[in-house]
Symmetry: C2
Subunit: 423 residues, 2 copies
Amino acid sequence: MAITILKGAIVSARSLGKLDITEKGYLVAENGVITGVFPVLPEHYAGAPVEDFGDALILQSFADLHLHAPQYPMLGMGMDLPLLDWLNAYAFPTEARFADPDYARTIYRELAHELISHGTTRVCMFSSLHTDATLILMDELEKAGVTGFVGKVNMDRNNAPGVLEETTEESKQETLRWLEACQDFTHVKPMLTPRFTPSCTDELMAFLGKLAAERDLPVQSHLSENSAEIAWVRQLHPDCRQYWETYAKYGLWNDRTVMAHCVWSDERERKAMRDAGVTVVHCADSNQNICSGVAPVRVMLNEGLKVALGSDIAGGDHLDMFDVVASAIRASKARRMMDGWQTDFLTVPEGWYLGTSAGAAYFGEQPGFAPGNPLHAIVLADDRLPQPHPLTPAERLERCVYRRQPGAVRAVWSDGRKVFSAE
Amino acid sequence: MAITILKGAIVSARSLGKLDITEKGYLVAENGVITGVFPVLPEHYAGAPVEDFGDALILQSFADLHLHAPQYPMLGMGMDLPLLDWLNAYAFPTEARFADPDYARTIYRELAHELISHGTTRVCMFSSLHTDATLILMDELEKAGVTGFVGKVNMDRNNAPGVLEETTEESKQETLRWLEACQDFTHVKPMLTPRFTPSCTDELMAFLGKLAAERDLPVQSHLSENSAEIAWVRQLHPDCRQYWETYAKYGLWNDRTVMAHCVWSDERERKAMRDAGVTVVHCADSNQNICSGVAPVRVMLNEGLKVALGSDIAGGDHLDMFDVVASAIRASKARRMMDGWQTDFLTVPEGWYLGTSAGAAYFGEQPGFAPGNPLHAIVLADDRLPQPHPLTPAERLERCVYRRQPGAVRAVWSDGRKVFSAE
């Protein structure tokens, strides 16, 4: 039996707003599965090797539940444009380059490395419509140690003719070919990915819903990001009272469904998400960058919805989840102001929970370093920063959320395996 | 005569929203003063040495018009607290440590280096109330090549008894002692710095106003940052209709006055700023972090106010002005949403102007790389980033605003001197 013992200042997000802290503690896993966090090493682990990280922070790694891999090359561009213009001017032409497998290999290898070296070990990720590039992406994630779900994008209408398009038949056939090839992967699994309602014909949506049911596949897409988009969906589906119903009517709406944004979801749409157990992915940077709005995260949390965070590159401009957590906190303060100071902002421990435990929950984990969870952890050194006074682990965590520290991530574990070491 | 010639992709902010771009251009200075930007090197410079930076961007360096040097050690901390609690729990105890000159020397040397290596060459900066530490700060800035203004802080009431306090008499005497010693510096000059109205007795304010007039000294302070603060000022100065009048009545309100924040300045207060020629420093990160609000920057610009940017560390959590520009842009999008989509957000070229030319104007410069300006410039390499398509210099600038690139600043000039080189 393989025993992993990490020693350091262990901080985890046990529940929304509540940190568990064990200074000079031991985080122990057997065969990659956490058995506990201990202030003193239990007798029966005596003699097992301990990786002692001294005073460094040992934290849960991140879950990024919404990002577009083929938009990685255009990170931080086109931010003066609104969503639909930005898609046509930047996103579609950039994604189109992934028809070239060599280009895909180069870019996706770099992306996978950047994810792991910044402590993101679980993802729900959009690829492009290209089957081969999607398989290359999954291969690179698998090799780097990133776990989770990836989707070949389906988009058979309102796409970019001559640039990025597929017919309904191509979309179906390629999805089947892709699913066949996905069986090669252990840690990265397929997820059905209609781009968003305006991009998919009814025929294709029906096909994907049937596939989801037959093969027990999870689904990801976009929902109620922007008011122009919502109006467009209403035009396309006059039979649906709300945007979410365009997914629900095809069987794409259940407790394994992940919906990015939900900026404009009203009480009724939020109730539909809660009732179905849909996971909302809040993408604060992206929503603010392309002027979509600021999602009512506090209200969603109060109502009991499942909410996690996404970098949403390249609408979002930060891949590093430390930044994504900080952005979610900052956005919640903007939202507070927009709500006439009526809603509470996200505190640092709350933001941290959303970026770690809340995302991990989608993969079946319990909050924090709970026994039974696969070991997903990062070791973070902050000793190069000045100390204004002796800092508590919670203060140190806060500072690490806000401050960029190149090279501060010392080591990363993903599903029990050590996948990154700064040494 | 010393001639400096820099070759590269030259981008500068000529006016709000308008970039001047000269690819493979020559930026020329004689004795540290810019003579022009040329697509072809003029004949009479033939033979002079050219520093050829290839395809790298050559940009104006930044002006950071509001930051608190002694809060540098607590960067990114206490962000869950509102302004007045945050001052007592974090800012005052942290500043108090600068009674120790050795501590000041260590921290300020690091701060000065971080400013220069990230391309900030002009500042208006708060020190603490400590005269000796303030002189050490000015010395370290001078040595590193940072130019501009620094103020010993005056705060003789409502301070932190036993932690950070000075009597009225001490404040006066120390200010005079400090001003005497400031004559040793060439590029860093003194600026009178009443912390904010609640921190200064009427007697001290009157003293500072008299000093400003007698010695022709500029003034910096805080204005209308937070609604609790504004209510407090009203209580303290029942004779003043608005916050700004508490500065104006003591002669601290003129065209060399710099006022940070102005989040809640209404039309009347804004008119008072415009009429007097006061410079507003917008500190987007700080205002959002400690839930002060989002300043109406677009309205101020439309009304013809002078507006520049400040990192406001450590209410702000980013010292790097690339981030500060991005934050100002993002905040303007939040403000747009708060204004019912009625005000335009700041575009990237507009944000860039505010972080460079608008701040430089306070120091008497013309916008962009105008002939007659002292040479303040940074060379920025972005060749490690992937290219989604062949990028224009404007697109490259946008990406550099949004993306963190450790080590991307290759060289910095400040007032004609090369003060940083990554080699």
